[in-house]
């Protein structure tokens, strides 16, 4: 580019939405604690989510210790083990991944990438974080109440989740349900912000079809979440009523532990329908932002425009819509009508079409690109591999007939950890390495980052690949120990031990990124405004880290899409979105 500085005459007055009145904090508390600046809220969300995520990581380490070396920790009884399973699952899916992608990355990236000064409802945004924070506190509190947290599995299936005999069926489950309800309320406030900001506050010239795919992913995931979380809210409220005042929404007539209960006629299957009506879109609430972010990472670090941009947008929308009609594939073994199962198997396999389309487009973007194997790029490519692996096992489990024997075995664990555990987490790491310079003004250390990548990427394969095999052997999941069972051979026990050792190594390797984040904050290399030479608006801010109001006195004007990399004839291999066409060399044949 000959001149990235703007010719003043190219400015068209008046942004589309007009200037918004910015909130200015007057007190320390208002600036750092109850802050209404989306960038600060994003860091608060991310820090809380990662903090609680570390708790879930420690829980998984203890579970692996019990499985690989039974009895190594005396306090892990079968009850405690089930509590760990439950809390690990719930925290990872909802309190870490959902909160981190939408609350963390959504808050940071939406205003910066669409060229807005802030979210449209900053106060509701602040409230959203604090309600989330209280929800996390309540969740943590359940570790300390009599009976401990609920041990009913993260799906909280009734009737066992509220019957005596299940750990935490008195206090733990109530705290869990209250915490979830608060999470949903808090998320709704944030979600309204994300949707309306994308719809209403884009910079002039930022048409929908010029938005980076990151924004498309987060936007569609938020729409899904806003429509799907009510299903969880309804089931939470109904179960809370069953537990506290003895209604029978979900509770059938039942005698348990030698005592008859007053419940009558309720339908546990109804809960499963409601739960998975939320639960399946939840998978895509986590996956769609990951899809979006990975598209941008691949494009930036391969210095090539994304292959099939419009197709990518449509794929995101179609996946989102389809995700509402596949929920019962989680319930093949609930005794449903086989024709019903046939319908859901079909819709489930159809969803593979837009998903595969995205994978092809990522690979085609890499094809003959100028690939820079930076740390974010390593994680992005690692994601594509892992997502394909996890997706392929999804074909097995999506077919009702194949699912039945594999249901509730380690095969299922391997599948969903690959596809919605490891894959999104790889994107989270890639995104942290990519955007950390914009948050702090410093680069993360690269050798440490590469070490972190290889330990995590290879390590997770060492953990989850053997689990497919254990699943084929029929090894059941959620069991506290697998000793003394004839059909499980010694080799499976050896494999189990080896999986645990790999898990400890991967768990310990996560210290690398924590150390890197803290160390680089003080000692990292100065990044400058646009270290990756990227086109999107967040890298064009006048100051780094971006100041209050993001863009200085004038909002940017957008002249092009987010993917002008290696444009033939241009001097540099990228043209930022806010560079007018007339600044390009005239030789260009657009």
């Amino acid at each position: 580019m000959s001149s990235v500085t703007h010719d003043e005459t190219t400015f068209v007055p008046a942004a589309e939405t007009g200037e918004m009145e910015l909130y200015h904090a007057k007190t320390w508390l208002g600036k750092y604690v109850f802050c209404q600046d989306a960038k600060v809220i994003a860091v608060q969300y991310a820090a809380t989510a990662i903090g609680i995520g570390l708790v879930a990581l420690v829980l998984s380490m203890m579970m692996r210790l019990q499985l690989g070396f039974p009895g190594a920790l005396a306090f892990i009884t079968p009850e405690v083990y089930m509590q760990m399973v439950t809390m690990h699952g719930m925290i990872m899916v909802i309190y870490l991944l959902t909160a981190l992608f939408l609350g963390g990355f959504g808050n940071f990236l939406i205003p910066l990438m669409v060229g807005a000064r802030d979210m449209v409802f900053p106060w509701a945004n602040m409230l959203s974080f604090w309600i989330y924070f209280v929800a996390v506190l309540i969740l943590v509190a359940s570790f300390f109440v009599p009976g401990g947290p609920t041990g009913s599995g993260w799906t909280l299936y009734p009737p066992q989740s509220i019957l005596p005999g299940t750990p935490g069926s008195e206090w733990g489950i109530i705290l869990m349900l209250v915490s979830l309800a608060l999470f949903i309320v808090g998320f709704t406030m944030g979600g309204l912000n994300y949707v309306v900001t994308v719809l209403q506050a884009r910079a002039r010239g930022m048409t929908l079809m010029r938005m980076p795919l990151t924004i498309w992913g987060i936007f569609m995931a938020t729409v899904l979440a806003l429509l799907a979380f009510p299903a969880l809210l309804v089931s939470v409220i109904m179960m809370l009523l069953d537990q506290t005042i003895g209604t029978s929404f979900f509770m059938p007539a039942i005698a348990a532990m030698g005592a008859e209960h007053d419940y009558d006629g309720g339908s546990p299957i109804l809960f499963q329908h409601l739960f998975w009506f939320f639960g399946h879109p939840e998978v895509y609430i986590v996956a769609l932002p990951a899809f979006g972010i990975v598209s941008d990472l691949i494009s930036v670090h391969a210095r090539k425009n994304i292959f099939g941009y419009r197709m990518m947008v449509w794929a995101i929308v179609v996946i989102g819509a389809l995700s509402f009609v596949v929920w019962a594939h989680h319930m093949y073994v609930s005794g449903m009508n086989p024709y019903f199962g046939f319908f859901f198997a079909t819709t489930t396999l159809i969803i593979a079409v837009p998903t595969a389309l995205k994978v092809y487009n990522w690979v085609l973007t890499l094809w003959r690109g100028n690939i820079h194997l930076t740390v974010p790029m390593l994680f992005a490519i690692g994601f594509v591999f892992t997502f394909i692996n996890g997706g392929l096992t999804g074909l097995f489990l999506g077919n009702a007939a194949v699912d039945v024997p594999l249901s509730d075995t380690y095969f299922v664990i391997a599948h969903f950890h690959m596809v919605m555990g490891v894959s999104p987490i790889l994107v989270v790491f890639g995104a942290i390495y990519h955007w950390y310079p914009k948050v702090t003004g410093r680069m993360l250390n690269e050798p440490l980052g590469k070490l972190h990548f290889w330990f995590t990427f290879l390590g997770t394969y060492a953990i989850y690949f053997p689990m497919h095999y254990l699943g084929f052997l029929g090894m059941p999941r959620r069991y506290y120990t697998s000793g003394g069972t004839d059909f499980i051979p010694d080799s499976a026990h050896a494999l189990n031990t080896q999986i645990s050792i790999a898990a400890f190594i991967v768990g310990a390797a996560q210290l690398l990124i924590l150390v890197n984040i803290v160390w680089s904050y003080y000692k990292g290399k100065e990044s400058g405004g646009n270290p990756w030479k990227a086109t999107t608006l967040e890298w064009q801010t006048p100051t780094t880290p971006a100041g209050h109001g993001n863009f200085g006195p004038e909002l940017p004007l957008v002249y092009r899409w987010a993917y002008d990399y290696s444009v033939p004839g241009a001097k540099e291999d990228f043209i930022p979105q806010n560079v007018p066409p007339r600044d390009e060399p005239a030789t260009q044949g657009e």
Partner: protein
């Protein structure tokens, strides 16, 4: 689940239609200077209005799912014994209709800039909504007196849950209403467009909650 699916299907149809409009005939890879064919597609509505409509979508999703759960549970194990809706509910429905009518009048006054004719319908509309909530609580009390407790039968449990959730949404609306009233009453330094938006949003929300109530009440009467 059919009702929820129909609802979601229609939302998705709107999204798809809107996206088709945005994405056909556009070539995102072409850079353009302003004023030369750049479609200015942004909504002309204020952000608060869009925010409210998105929120109404979320609330609709919630109540659709409740209706789905209601019909699934009702078709359940034959233990469903319909409860007699207290006649008081008809009165409450009347109050809610009137409340909506007065909010509409306030909205009309606000949009015509007749500020002196705005305060009284706004206050009456809110007062009627409060009366509605009190009436709902009285209906709960009557049912309790007659021995229809929530735990006795799923029909009762759904009745309490549905009316309770609807009432909570009404209370939330009253918080927004209180802010609108404060804006109208304070008069000093009042920004007319703020008042207008505030009253308009309240009115939309009131009509929406009335519609939801009519659907839910009809459902409970019919079953």
């Amino acid at each position: 689940m059919l009702i929820s699916l129909i609802f979601l299907g229609s939302i998705m149809a709107v999204v798809a239609w809107w996206l088709v409009k945005q994405s056909l005939n556009t070539q995102p890879w072409v850079s353009e200077p302003h004023g030369e064919g750049t479609s200015e597609e942004s909504f002309s509505y204020p952000a608060h209005k869009v925010g409210l409509w998105v929120f109404l979508g979320v609330v609709s999703s919630l109540f659709c799912l409740i209706i789905s759960a209601y019909s699934i549970r009702m078709a359940g194990l034959g233990d469903w014994r319909p409860l007699p809706e207290p006649p008081l509910l008809w009165l409450n429905t009347g109050l809610l209709v009137l409340s909506s009518v007065f909010m509409q009048r306030a909205h009309r006054a606000a949009s015509r800039n007749e500020l002196d004719r705005l305060a009284s319908p706004l206050l009456i509309g809110g007062a009627l909504a409060i009366a509605f909530i009190v009436g709902q609580l009285a209906a709960w009390y009557q049912l309790g007196e007659m021995g229809y407790f929530a735990s006795a039968n799923p029909a009762n449990a759904f009745f309490y849950m549905i009316t309770g959730l609807h009432g909570l949404h009404m209370l939330g609306g009253l918080v927004a209403w209180r802010r609108a009233v404060a804006r109208v009453v304070s008069k000093k330094g009042m920004d007319i467009s703020d008042v207008r938006t505030s009253v308009e949003l309240c009115t939309t929300y009131w009509h929406f909650l009335l519609l939801i109530w009519l659907i839910l009440f009809g459902l409970m009467l019919a079953t």
